[in-house]
Structure formats: structure tokens, C-alpha cells
Subunit: 135 residues, 2 copies
């Protein structure tokens, strides 16, 4: 995995991810936000750090619904995000962890009745969250 140097840029990136941990953000959002703060961090650096965080399980990496780019979301490692599916609101980007009893039923049904072994990594179900559906 390699060492993990503590640098100003990385701290800014991680800060932004943590502040926005309820939703998935893309690389440009991060880049623009840091730039607006006057803390410009090269976009290559952002890509590289996100890749590292993703490999360490500190962020989830998905494809945005438009299919045009990747989005990332900070997660506590203890969330065990590889054990449950995720729902993403197409309007506000919020991500909901489907980490409830129903997840087992779902996996089992799919395995038993369809012979399919679900892999939560990268899987994503789109829709509208409560707030956005009300609008």
C-alpha cells in the first residue's frame, strides 16, 4: 500500500470529501471548490489521491449517472460498503447505504432464483431520495 505522507493538498481534498460525505462528488467539483478557497491543487494530484483512497476503501468510486465521469464518496471504513448495495439520488447526488436486513433477502433471492451472485462493488441503483421526490 505504501506510506501515506501528510501534505497540505491531501488534507484539503480529504476535508472536502468529509464535508460532502453524504453525497458523491466528481473530480472537477473538488478541483473547483479548492480553487475557490484559494487552495489550488493540481487535478492530476486529485485523481491520484482519490485512486489511492479508493484502493484503501476510504472512498467509494462510482460512475455518475450521465456515464461521463467517475464520482467519489467518502466512507468510514467500518461501514463495510462492500457488503451492501447503494442507492443514489439522481437529483442531489445523495447516497443511501442499503445496509439493512433486507440486503440478505435480496442477495439470497437473486442467488437462488436467478443463479446470480451479487457484487456490491461498483453496483449502483439510481432513483430519487425522499427530499427530492417531494419537490
Amino acid at each position: 500500500m505504501g506510506a501515506n505522507y501528510n501534505t497540505a493538498g491531501r488534507n484539503r481534498i480529504l476535508e472536502f470529501l468529509v464535508e460532502n460525505s453524504m453525497r458523491a462528488v466528481n473530480v472537477n467539483e473538488i478541483h473547483d471548490a479548492l480553487q475557490a478557497q484559494g487552495n489550488d491543487v493540481n487535478i492530476t494530484t486529485i485523481y491520484r489521491y482519490l485512486e489511492k483512497l479508493a484502493s484503501e476503501g476510504q472512498v467509494m468510486k462510482y460512475v455518475a449517472q450521465d456515464g461521463l465521469r467517475a464520482v467519489y464518496q467518502y466512507v468510514e471504513k467500518e461501514h463495510h460498503c462492500t457488503d451492501h448495495l447503494h442507492l443514489q439520488c439522481t437529483r442531489c447526488g445523495a447516497i443511501i447505504h442499503l445496509d439493512c436486513h433486507f440486503m440478505d433477502e435480496f442477495s439470497n433471492h437473486v442467488l437462488m432464483d436467478h443463479g446470480f451472485r451479487i457484487q456490491c462493488k461498483n453496483s449502483i441503483i439510481y432513483g430519487l431520495c425522499e427530499k427530492c421526490a417531494g419537490k
Copy 2:
């Protein structure tokens, strides 16, 4: 929606999609396959026709698991693919339609317990199909 002219290129593309309707294919696969048949069709044409078919609901459009490109799958319009989720095998590309009674239970649970209204369009769950899991 516009007219739908009948051309040699479109017929070849549609033929290929129908022949491979059990799995999702990408643009290059189509391009290469037609080229191998000696029926070269410009890749731009393939993109444009697929976009048209997708807008008409004749193909489903997803993002491949690698997140690097789009994949397309032919579907009968009567399949009502906007009403159920889809499972994709990360190994062979096979797509399984989750159009069973369980789909309602799942939607309901997600709506009731998580306040989330599922939208099947573009959603995809990855995993391994029966055949590939056995290997």
C-alpha cells in the same frame, strides 16, 4: 422521433445486436465484428444509431463495469425494461432481467424503509452469473 430509413449499415448493426441480445456489447465490438464480416460501418454511424435506438427504447444503454465506456443491449420493447432492475455478469457480460415478483417487494421496501424511489433506467447490479461463478 423522426423517420427511420432502412439502410444496409443499420441492418447490420441491428442484426449484430439481436444476435447478441443476451449480453451487453460496446461500440468497438460492433465495429470490429462488422469489419470482420467485410461490412465496415463508420464508428460515428454506430454511435448515432445506438443513440437513436436507446431513445426509442430498443436498446438499453449502460456503463461497463470498468467505467470506461458505454455498453448496449438489444431488448424487445415489450420487455418493459424500465420496470425492473438488471444484473450484469462482470465476466461474460450477460444481462439478467430481474422481472419477477420480487422486484415489487424490493421497490416497496426501499420506498417504505429508505424513502427512496427506484428508477431502473441506467441502474445496474454487477456480479457473476451461474455459469461464470462455477468456473
